[in-house]
Symmetry: C2
Subunit: 326 residues, 2 copies
Amino acid sequence: MANMREIAKEAGVGISTVSRYINNTGYVSERSRAKIERVIEKSHYKPNELARAIFTRNSKIIGLLVPNISNPYFNELALIIEEYASEQGFSIFLCNTNDDFEKESNYINVLQGHRVAGIITVRSQCKNEYAAYDIPVVSFESYISEKIITVATDNFTGGSLAFNHLYECGCRNLVHVAGPLFADAISERTRGFIESAREKNITVDLIQFETDFQRKMLEANIKTLEDIEKYDGIFVFNDIAAATVIRYFQQKNVRIPEEVQVIGFDNSYIGEFLFPSLTTIEQSVQEVGRTLVEALLKLIKGEAVDQKKIIIKPNLVKRDSTRVSK
Amino acid sequence: MANMREIAKEAGVGISTVSRYINNTGYVSERSRAKIERVIEKSHYKPNELARAIFTRNSKIIGLLVPNISNPYFNELALIIEEYASEQGFSIFLCNTNDDFEKESNYINVLQGHRVAGIITVRSQCKNEYAAYDIPVVSFESYISEKIITVATDNFTGGSLAFNHLYECGCRNLVHVAGPLFADAISERTRGFIESAREKNITVDLIQFETDFQRKMLEANIKTLEDIEKYDGIFVFNDIAAATVIRYFQQKNVRIPEEVQVIGFDNSYIGEFLFPSLTTIEQSVQEVGRTLVEALLKLIKGEAVDQKKIIIKPNLVKRDSTRVSK
DNA sequence: GTGAAAGCGCTAACAG
DNA sequence: CTGTTAGCGCTTTCAC
């Protein structure tokens, strides 16, 4: 692929004229314009963004770190982020961290090396790894440091909503399927659920899932569900895990919501496809995605972001896996 | 962030010594080594990959174009591609084309501008747009040109398998939910299904879906399903669309597989979460992902790839949305 | 072993 | 309006 100097020579103009033409910065006569246009056209020339970025000191790329792009909530989030970002001329550099500290911190280095304009990180496990650099970072779910903006659902309230709903639906014998312990956001859901239960003098049994990766869940965690049908209400830490739980019940011919009621968390699209469709606590993926991108873009543009902690309000989405008693 | 020259000065060595140290190319004395190491350590220096790439003439980045990352098959594919690629030191630049020609061709330019090492494109609608550049490209599903490697399932056979299975399950009154017409791969499924039916003197009714994006499907295409319960067997062009169809049946209280049997295509993870779980034609996402990356990596390394067309064998995955009659 | 210097492709003054 | 020139941060000869 040709470079700018070649284009200039071929068009019989100076290199900076070509630059001005391309960037629309400064005057270029009609004659030069026409000549340049022709040469670029036939040579399929595209300015090298790498060389460009070396100047502007960063590329128009946003690094997106998610645990696992095949989690429905995360991929819908990625879709939305990509949509907003591309409207603003930014592209997405996708990183699956696999919930693995090493992989995440390695990717931080890679992104740093590529001088990305900013990073959106989801359910991060790294702290100093981000602090060490001066790239704008916005974090969803995990709190990283004072300087880094956190966007998070009010997970405590979310857990509380989940409890209240199950309670209203008549459940008194509850179990909570809790998620990976390293994730603050997920632990908060657990706390909110349990504390609300305590207020009503109800104790909650716990089952621990170590991961929310489809394949691994199906293989490993299913055995922890053994006696789960002795409960009448279950709160699962997210929708995809809830899907696994529901699937398990189907296999065991346990009827939902007649015998057990189930509530998830996220309101990802998978909930609508389950049978019965999943009652869940929504953290609006639209809102989260937009908030994340907007905050990051501000940071990138050097504008101040007043709040260091942006809270998303959770709310109940009632479907068929629970039923109001009476 | 510091640059190499500053590191060199700080360490009291020449810039090229630092370069040699970092790239492990050529000798560096123990003394210099130690000094450089210290300076890099405390300054969090990361070499600028952009500047580097300007030399090597491309970055270690692979562009991935998919219609929609929230389609379960595509996001699982993306996960696998990212996994393989990152093992080889490549990262992923994610592009959602939205099945939109403009957006795809625009992204091709962006990727080109960033001098990505290669492109994996899924269900592409562009042709010349790729041919114009000399970046390695591997295409999944769509045939682009003679020069560009195509990886595709034998979709015709897949459609045929789908028919044969429904036939064996006793279905005689068939309808096919066909997908977007611009996608060759999807049309082939239709052809395979219909031709096999014709051999048995069975005619197949057709319903057309214009998209396979969850949200759009639910809103728009559902009305085309109106009279669908008059059939006893349905072949849907992919799993996520089949999920929509199944959901529709649930709402109408039509029993699967007792009243209608359903078969999908892809074997994406969503199939296992549906109720009843979805019988489908698998195009192994593992195999597809690996094949795609391997072929692209060969191209990137300048190795020859013997086959321009790599065929993936489809096969039946029997679950609960169909039943063998008898 | 090591540093100076040229150059990758581009941008941004700055004279003319 | 336009071309020359000096970098951006890095790699890579090539003398010392």
